[in-house]
């Protein structure tokens, strides 16, 4: 069951097309990555999902139905540019935002208390926002995003501005929300976090979807047939015509040799392993899948060349 279904969405702004026939589907309970360089159209798409703007054509379905009033309160949105009322008190502010999303005053107050405790902010509840450090304000913003138990969470660059410790806590909380059944949409440039948490991604470039699918499948399909091998010897391996090339080679940290080899087209892994094993002291052999970062850069660059 797909929770979000975006069908042929077009959004035109004065002078340029922000989204050009964009379609994607996000399964329920999935952690979904929305990737793309700056100005690709991510924010435009997120605003449409949030009902902040309307598409010029195409449609967006939530649970198979067009958006209605209840959709808005079923979404939690953490924008890239964080913002809260600086003059409002911490608890007051979270309660206000929760009530705007349709929570009752009592529920909002109870949940606020619970979340502030969880993030060690309870002593700050009656302080004005301007008195908080940037990291604490980020946590307050996160709380106000998730407090009303939305089914869909949209995080725009959630980890920017967090130190490693807090980023870890945030990641933990996000995965916990996923376990509780929320569908999570990430928009990010941080490819490491995409590999770590996202199951599926869509890559948008120049207003168009250029890549969509399961993260592991995508990495595999972009495989360059590169393998890391470790040999317990000092002599470097020699390339073998029709079998593999040696891309790089260096002494290993704990002795021996670390090398990167590229298998030739059509060569099976087991054949390569058998051959190397027969010639050298083979101690390690692992496939080197491209990182999402490499896939990202490659796809965007191919796109650029395709346009020329």
């Amino acid at each position: 069951m797909n929770f979000i279904e975006v069908k042929n969405v077009v959004k035109q702004y004065a002078g340029h097309r922000a989204l050009d026939d964009v379609s994607l589907s996000v399964p329920k309970g999935c952690v979904y990555g929305l990737l793309g360089p700056n100005g690709a159209g991510k924010t435009s798409l997120i605003r449409i999902l949030n009902q902040i703007t309307q598409p010029d054509s195409g449609e967006v379905l939530f649970n198979g139905k067009p958006a209605d009033v209840s959709t808005m309160r079923n979404i939690g949105y953490l924008p890239e540019e964080r913002g809260l009322y600086k003059k409002m008190k911490v608890a007051e502010q979270i309660i206000y935002l929760a009530r705007l999303k349709g929570m009752s005053r009592n529920d909002a107050a109870t949940e606020t208390e619970m979340w502030l405790r969880r993030f060690d902010l309870i002593e700050w509840r009656n302080k004005k926002l301007e008195a908080l450090s940037k990291g604490m304000a980020q946590k307050v913003q996160f709380i106000s995003t998730v407090i009303h138990h939305p089914e869909l969470l949209i995080f725009d660059e959630p980890f920017s501005g967090f130190d490693p410790v807090n980023a870890e806590q945030l990641k933990h909380e996000i995965l916990r929300l996923k376990d509780e059944g929320a569908t999570i949409l990430f928009s990010t440039h941080n490819m490491a976090s995409v590999e770590e948490v996202c199951e599926r991604i869509t890559l948008i470039n120049h207003a168009k979807v250029v890549l969509e699918g399961n993260v592991t499948d995508i990495r595999r399909s972009h495989s360059k047939h590169l393998y890391d091998i470790h040999l317990c010897q000092d002599a470097p391996p020699a390339p073998v015509e029709g079998l593999f090339n040696v891309e790089s080679c260096a002494p290993g940290k704990a002795g021996g040799i670390d090398a990167e080899i590229r298998l030739c087209e059509g060569v099976a892994k087991r054949d390569a392993i058998a051959f190397i094993n027969s010639r050298y002291e083979l101690a390690g052999f692992s496939e080197k899948l491209p990182t999402m970062n490499e896939v990202f850069i490659e796809t965007v660059q191919q796109n650029k060349e395709g346009e020329r």
Partner: protein, 443 residues
């Protein structure tokens, strides 16, 4: 049904927040106290200044070549007259340069009788109060002399008896044909005070709304809020919330004014020797009883003859309409900029229209039935101010109705347009927006 309720509670939530965010501020409390004090000070200051200015007596040296007019100058608190006739009119400059503490030298020529002209010399610009005093003293002395020169006994008495002051009181018939003291001038002054209040509130709260819109935009909170409600709800919530703050402020002043005037009324009542009547009976009744043929009674009669019901209900209507009209423009233009200082290109035209309206309102006091008055009290952008001034001069009902209907229709249309601008503007960053862009957003 439940959706409508949700929207309503969302709007009231926003109104509550906007209201509290202003009322809880220290600056609101300070302004509520300061504004009446400053306005009272503005009226009282000139009087106070002259009161405190009469401290030092200044010396005026007099060369009286006629030889008989010196005695007509009596020293006052402000001026002391010294006879220096022996110095002679040729040497007064030398005398003035050497003398300390001489403010001015007055020279009365010998032929002042036939050519009534005198000169006052000084290093400073001579004060009006001195020239007035000298003129007054010489006029009465010289005219007395002339009267005496006719040699008719009792002539002075006859002339005094012939002098007549005519008092012109305008009297208006009411619908039953009864006489009423016309209070148009008083009422239109009251009207212009209320119009000024509208003007002040629109500017003050318009700027406040604009800043709050820009602040939400630069804070980036607006993106979070509009993912929870529609932009128009946020804009209307702001306008209504701030409007309620305005009413709160006026209510505080009215209550304050009520307390002060009833205290003052009781004090005046007891001064007029009817303290017992006031303390036992209703003070309004006592005031009416006081309205005899004394001057105080006339003032009371004028105060009571104003059609307060019409004035106040029109004030509320024009205040609401004008407030909505102008303030939604401020909100729209606030959404188009990234910081308040960029907004001046949009607010300057609004300010110019408002200053024009105020000027037209003051001009209408002179000629309340002229075509300037008519058109400015019909056109929505000026009517909230101009019509308030015209109101006491029996504006035909159709004009009043047309003006109010036009005002509200325009205010609603402008609010709808403002909402379109606002909707686009709040999500627009880092772009210098022009009037041309804004026109595009409206489409």
């Amino acid at each position: 049904m439940s959706n409508a309720n949700n929207n309503k509670s969302r709007l009231s939530l926003i109104i509550q927040r906007e209201y509290m965010s202003i009322v809880a501020r220290k600056s609101f409390i300070v302004m509520t106290i300061l504004i009446p004090l400053i306005s009272v000070a503005c009226f009282a200051l000139p009087g106070l200044l002259t009161y405190f200015n009469t401290g030092e007596q200044q010396t005026v040296a007099v060369v009286d070549e006629s030889g008989r007019l010196m005695k007509s100058f009596k020293n006052t608190d402000e001026y002391k007259f010294d006879d220096i006739t022996p110095v002679g009119s040729k040497n007064i400059h030398e005398f003035y340069s050497n003398a300390d503490n001489v403010y001015a030298v007055l020279v009365i020529p010998a032929n002042v009788d036939s050519v009534p002209k005198v000169n006052i010399y000084s290093n400073n610009a001579v004060k009006n109060s001195l020239t007035n005093l000298v003129e007054e003293c010489l006029c009465s002395a010289l005219s007395d002399e002339r009267v005496k020169s006719y040699g008719v006994p009792g002539l002075q008495q006859m002339i005094d008896n012939c002098r007549v002051d005519v008092a012109v009181d305008s009297v208006k018939w009411n619908d039953e044909g009864d006489e009423e003291r016309s209070s148009a001038i008083f009422a239109s002054i009251l009207g212009i005070i209320l119009a000024m209040l509208t003007y002040m509130f629109v500017l003050m709260y318009g700027a406040m709304i604009m800043n709050s819109v820009v602040e939400e935009k630069t804070n980036r909170i607006v993106e979070v809020i509009v993912s929870s409600c529609r932009p128009i709800e946020l804009m209307l919530g702001k306008i209504i919330g701030v409007g309620l703050v305005g009413f709160t402020q006026i209510a505080i002043w009215v209550i304050f004014l009520g307390v002060v005037s009833s205290v003052l009324g009781i004090a005046l009542g007891s001064m007029a020797g009817i303290g017992s009547a006031v303390s036992s009976a209703d003070s309004a009744a006592a005031l009416t009883a006081l309205a005899g043929d004394s001057e105080f009674g006339e003032i009371i009669e004028i105060l009571l003859s104003v059609n307060y019901f019409q004035l106040i209900s029109c004030f509320i209507l024009y205040f609401l309409g004008g407030f909505l009209l102008y303030v939604s423009l401020f909100a729209a233009f606030g959404s188009a900029v990234d910081q308040p200082s960029d907004a001046s290109q949009f607010t300057t035209p609004i300010m110019m229209i408002m200053v024009f309206a105020l000027w037209a309102g003051i001009a209408c006091m002179e000629n309340p039935d002229g075509s300037l008055a008519f058109w400015c009290s019909i056109i929505p952008f000026t009517s909230p101010i101009v019509m308030m001034v015209r109101l006491p001069y029996d504006v035909p009902f159709w004009e009043l109705a047309l003006s109010i209907i036009l005002l509200f229709a325009t205010a609603l249309a402008i609010t709808a347009i403002a909402a379109r601008i606002y909707r686009t503007g709040i999500l627009m960053y880092g772009k210098k927006v022009s009037f041309k862009d804004i026109l595009k957003w409206i489409k």
